[in-house]
């Protein structure tokens, strides 16, 4: 980890240049029609899922707190952003930020009591919290209840999701390579030793949870303005489990791996559509195979490179973050 200003600026410059390049390539591909509307939507979903995965990554891989309810914060962000936009006509960007802030506030309030729990207890509690949020939304008629909330303006563009994704990568990268990140990692490594070295572990756990919730909320807002319609069941714990799979597969605390695994696993179900119902068998099978390869320490990144050499590669943004 470099701490000098020049080294840091150089890294930032390279990252931003790579991001702009990737963005320009994809924008060109979209405008020339090489990437059609269908694939464009998948691409945007990938970007949103990357934001979600990275925010989960902060909590699970960096801070070592197994949360199975992260999609609840996405739900809160989606509903908060959509509702405020529909009711007050707040501009798109401000609605997004509002969604993130509300989710972050919930993250803070939920984190304070639940993060006293560890391991499987925390996992079950967060899962329960997720279910409570879903059921609560289903019973709020002002938010459309179980039928969902329609009529959200379709303001999310590729540029916006891409920008938000880059912003998330930058912010979270800066967090984990600061003293705050070091504190979070120390919580993961050994809570008792961390406390003995003067680290207020509760504070940093709640900080990770709140930050994670904020970005999940941001992703939720983007999702709402992309789909133009949201319903509670989209955000139930199956979505949370998906996020856990992305980050576990991505490798411990590994940004690039996380981005790669999220991209692949978001795209995979779409790519398998040709197999009809069989994809429900093939997808889990592939998951098992990838997990086995992971355990044998064959990184997703290396797999991507292997596939890339075969196909010429599309994983442009995956190596930018590390």
């Amino acid at each position: 980890m470099s701490v000098s200003l020049t080294a840091s600026l150089k890294k930032l410059g390279i990252f931003l240049a790579a991001s702009v390049a990737v963005f320009v390539v994809f924008t060109l591909l979209i405008s020339t029609g090489v990437i059609n509307a269908y694939y464009k939507r998948i691409l945007m979903t990938i970007c949103i899922n990357i934001i979600l995965a990275l925010s989960t990554n902060l909590i699970i891989n960096f801070t070592g707190q197994l949360t199975l309810g992260h999609s609840a914060f996405m739900a809160i962000g989606a509903y908060a952003a959509a509702a405020i936009s529909l009711k007050t006509g707040l501009p798109f960007v401000l609605s997004l930020i509002f969604g993130g802030l509300v989710a972050g506030l919930f993250g803070f309030l939920i984190g304070l009591p639940t993060l006293r729990l560890k391991g499987d207890y925390l996992a079950i509690t967060t899962m329960g919290f997720c279910q409570i949020i879903v059921v609560a939304i289903q019973n709020i008629p002002q938010l459309g209840g179980a039928q969902g909330l329609p009529g959200i303006p379709g303001k999310t563009t590729f540029a916006w999701v891409f920008f938000c994704m880059i912003l998330t990568i930058l912010v979270l990268h800066n967090v984990v390579s600061s003293k705050q990140g070091r504190a979070m990692i120390s919580v993961r490594e050994d809570e008792i030793a961390a406390e003995a070295m003067g680290v207020n572990t509760t504070r940093y756990k709640v900080m990770a949870f709140t930050l994670g919730a904020f970005f999940a909320g941001l992703a939720g807002g983007l999702y709402a303005f992309l789909m133009m319609f949201i319903e509670p069941t989209t955000f139930n714990y199956f979505k949370s489990i998906d996020l856990v799979i992305y980050v576990v597969l991505g490798g411990a605390g590994n940004f690039a791996g996380c981005i790669a695994s999220t991209s692949i696993l978001t795209f995979l179900p779409e790519a398998l559509r040709a197999f009809g119902d069989l994809r429900l068998v093939i997808y889990p099978l592939l998951l098992i195979i990838i997990m086995i390869l992971r355990v044998k320490n064959i990184r997703v990144m290396r797999l991507v490179k292997m596939i890339g050499r075969h196909k010429g590669g599309k994983e442009g943004d995956s190596h930018a973050a590390a």
């Binding site: 701490v3 600061s178 003293k179 705050q180 490594e189 008792i192 406390e195 070295m197 003067g198 680290v199």
Partner: protein, 257 residues
């Protein structure tokens, strides 16, 4: 005014009194030893001192302030640091990062500075990097700074744990069985190290240890615990000659050591 003043602390777990009426006063630059048979309550005393347990009764004052009921991380901020009986390093982190953990509470920059990379971030991080490397250097671990802590040999892991504790800038260092698992050669080096730490860092040291040669040669005063009670206290020579200690812990041959 003494640096550490413990008066009659006791702790009960249900019906069991683990430590009863423990008292100890330490001044600046003292090295004291805490000995006794296994299960006598030595580590429990450490755990009360460092806020892991709160004593059921009694008072503890450090540097003029009461430390009863403080959380472990706040006790560290009051300048008491410790090592653990079973080494508790961050095994998957580098040697350097292990030491840097101890500087977290001393760094002042906030989350905003971290995210926006404001000057205070670079300023303080460079400072911490420098201080950590200096500390590793005096512990002869600087050439292994990028090594994973788990890959260090046992003796160096112990050394790193002490370095990490010292990085919190303590006035009192608690060492819980620092010589456990060390061979005589390593124990000899540790003895020198402890003396050297006191001299260089100008701090007080309280240590739990079963290696009597280490305890007797390095400690100015020794407190003996048995079944949670203090059965003796005094200089190494007094302790060696104390019949109660010989019966409860040392055994006959140690009296001639």
């Amino acid at each position: 005014m003494p640096l550490l003043d413990i008066q009659n602390i006791s702790i009960r777990f249900g019906g069991l009194t683990a430590v009863a009426d423990f008292s100890l006063t330490m001044g600046d630059h003292d090295i004291y030893g805490l000995i006794g048979p296994n299960g006598a309550g030595k580590t429990t005393v450490f755990n009360m001192l460092t806020g892991v347990y709160t004593p059921t009764s009694g008072t503890m004052t450090f540097d003029g302030e009461s430390i009863v009921g403080l959380k472990p991380y706040n006790i560290t901020k009051k300048k008491i640091a410790r090592t653990f009986q079973n080494i508790r390093l961050m095994k998957n982190l580098s040697v350097l990062d292990n030491v840097k953990i101890s500087f977290i509470y001393q760094e002042k920059y906030g989350l905003t500075s971290a995210i926006l990379r404001l000057p205070s971030f670079f300023h303080e991080e460079e400072d911490v990097q420098k201080k950590s490397l200096e500390l590793l250097k005096v512990f002869h671990l600087d050439d292994k700074k990028d090594e994973m802590a788990a890959n260090l040999p046992y003796g160096e892991q112990r050394r790193l744990e002490i370095a990490r504790a010292l990085a919190t800038q303590p006035k009192l260092l608690l060492l819980d069985e620092p010589a456990a698992g060390m061979n005589p050669q390593e124990t000899q080096e540790l003895t020198e190290l402890i003396r050297w730490i006191r001299k260089t860092f100008k701090i007080s040291i309280l240590l739990i240890e079963h290696d009597m040669r280490l305890v007797m040669s390095v400690c100015e005063k020794i407190v003996v615990l048995d079944y949670g009670k203090i059965i003796a206290r005094g200089t190494p020579d007094e302790i060696k000659a104390n019949p109660k200690v010989i019966e409860a812990y040392l055994g006959e041959e140690a009296a001639h050591a």
